[in-house]
């Protein structure tokens, strides 16, 4: 019985890990070092369509960071696989704005995109949720 309750609680927590509140496109990084947001150039985002995003990065005080190192990975937690592509930052527009090319989603459902940032020896990451 205890095991059943534990499974129930675990499943409930897992389900609550993905809620509507998590769909924000503007977040503070995990350790609070950076304010990060994205804007997809394909709106609404649809599956099987290679497209680009703009990534905006500021420090915790709101100052735009234009020389950050940025890398991106993503996947579907429920399917245990990654993105079908390897997106890369291909342009730095300045003023904390970066072009992320090679974004693609090939299934409907819950996706996560994790953006890792290093700026002046400070590293942090932020994960965005998408529901397609």
């Amino acid at each position: 019985m205890k095991r059943l309750i534990l499974i129930f609680i675990t499943l409930t927590l897992c389900n609550s890990a993905f809620s509507e509140a998590d769909l924000r496109s503007n977040k503070l990084s995990d350790n609070g070092h950076f304010q990060v947001s994205y804007m997809s150039k394909l709106e609404p985002i649809e599956i099987n369509n290679l497209h680009a995003w703009k990534i905006f990065i500021k420090d915790k005080d709101g100052k735009a960071l234009s020389n950050a190192e940025v890398s991106v990975i993503g996947g579907m937690p429920e399917h245990n696989h990654g993105l079908p592509t390897q997106p890369q930052i291909t342009k730095n527009f300045g003023d904390g704005c970066y072009l992320l090319e090679g974004m693609k989603f090939h299934m409907l459902g819950w996706w996560t995109i994790t953006i890792s940032i290093t700026n002046e020896n400070i590293s942090d990451a932020v994960t965005f949720n998408l529901k397609l």
Partner: protein, 426 residues
């Protein structure tokens, strides 16, 4: 009390009548209870949502109708083989949706791969089961010289075009003057950079500029064949008519599917999870997945995309190669291509358009019927290598039958003018 009973009796009568009326409406219109989200998904699968064919930047002749006409002549021409008996249409038969009905192709020798349909293939960024080509024209080059398929050679093909008055005229109208191939010492009758030692020796003996001249002819042939293949596109099936019926509340179109087929469709987008990979209007995401398919008899397990990726990245005929018409930056699928262990033993997801008419199934035709395919996904066995992405579905016998019945509703004609489907040499 009597008053209350009368009211209760009245209420029950109303409920019963309304129920009968709703049931009659449901049966009359054959309207299932699709939710708004489900209707959105069904619409996303409809042929009406098929976008315009994406431009192939690597092929400047991709949408040239004269190139397509030339390509059709080449596609059906059996002279482009080692014994003048094998054409592209040998394994891609128009009446079979450009497949051959065999487990594995039968060209110059017994092949090791199932011949996939060409209908809608122009939408895929990757060709072959392992995606080892990134365009239809670079794909077309390989079988022409593969010893299991046409087993020909590129100088042989160039000579055919050079000496055939009709072909040469068509070629030169499209691509400009052909190189003068009349000197057989400079341009051997059969030469190609392939495993066959004799052909390879003849090729290596040629001057670099002559090799380049022959490669250009070879590539232009393939670009013409690709222009032809881009015309092979699917039209509406009974499934599409049904979705149209839902959207437009058209009672007649809603009769396009039987109750069992509708139940199968519900499974397709729900419990059976087919839609995870078979999504979009062509019912494929054109990506690579490991679904634990056992290797074909007498074959080692295929590494699939892991091998295909290695080949396409070094292919001189890829989108970023010297024979491509694309600006390197336009080759986005290649620039942002996925690498890594996740690709081991993955194969390309095939379209399910016309699937009931394109058996056998899987990359080596391992499964003969749709029933076997559904049973495979229902059991989800462990993968021989890599990781099987699918999980057991727990479908009942009835559900498996309904799913099979639904898959039969995905067949339909081609939008292509029938004149393109006829062998011009007969």
């Amino acid at each position: 009390m009597p008053k209350l009973s009368r009211n209760a009796f009245f209420a029950i009568t109303v409920i019963v009548l309304v129920s009968i009326f709703v049931s009659w409406i449901y049966q009359h219109n054959n309207l299932p209870d699709w939710s708004a989200d489900e209707i959105k998904i069904l619409q996303s699968l409809s042929i009406d949502k098929l976008p315009p064919l994406p431009k192939d930047h690597s092929n400047a002749f991709a949408d040239n109708l004269r190139a397509a006409e030339f390509g059709r002549l080449l596609f059906f021409d059996e002279r482009f083989s080692h014994n003048s008996k094998i054409s592209c249409a040998t394994c891609h038969i128009p009446e079979l949706y450009f497949t051959d009905g065999l487990a594995t192709a039968a060209g110059a020798q017994a092949g090791i791969r199932n011949s996939p349909t060409l209908v809608g293939a122009a939408y895929s960024p990757w060709q072959f089961w392992n995606g080892r080509s990134d365009s239809q024209w670079s794909q077309a080059l390989a079988p022409l010289e593969n010893t299991l398929e046409h087993a020909g050679s590129r100088t042989q093909f160039a000579h055919i075009i050079f000496t055939d008055k009709n072909y040469r005229q068509r070629y030169e109208e499209l691509f400009g003057s052909m190189p003068n191939l009349s000197n057989k010492k400079r341009f051997p009758k059969a030469a190609a950079p392939v495993d066959n030692q004799e052909l390879n020796n003849a090729w290596q003996a040629m001057q670099t500029k002559d090799q380049k001249a022959v490669n250009v002819v070879f590539v232009n042939m393939a670009k013409s064949i690709a222009a032809y293949q881009r015309l092979l596109q699917p039209a509406s099936s009974r499934f599409d008519n049904y979705v149209d019926g839902i959207i437009n509340n058209d009672a007649e179109k809603l009769k396009s599917l039987s109750k069992n087929e509708i139940a199968g469709l519900k499974l397709f987008i729900g419990k059976a999870q087919c839609i995870n990979c078979h999504n979009g209007p062509l019912l494929t995401n054109n990506e690579f997945h490991n679904t634990g398919i056992i290797s074909a008899a007498r074959q080692l397990p295929s590494l699939g995309r892991a091998t295909g990726l290695r080949i396409v990245l070094t292919d001189p005929f890829n989108c970023q190669g010297e024979f491509s018409d694309a600006d390197s930056k336009q080759c986005k699928e290649l620039r942002f291509v996925k690498t890594g262990d996740e690709l081991i033993a993955t194969h390309k997801v095939p379209t399910l358009r016309n699937v009931a008419d394109t058996a056998p199934y899987m990359h080596a035709g391992q499964l003969t019927t749709l029933e076997e395919v559904i049973e495979h996904y229902n059991r989800a066995p462990l993968a021989m290598i890599g990781h099987n992405e699918i999980k057991p579905l727990q479908l009942s016998g009835k559900e498996k039958k309904q799913l099979t019945q639904f898959l039969h509703s995905l067949s339909g004609p081609l939008v292509t003018d029938p004149k393109w489907l006829i062998n011009p040499h007969i």
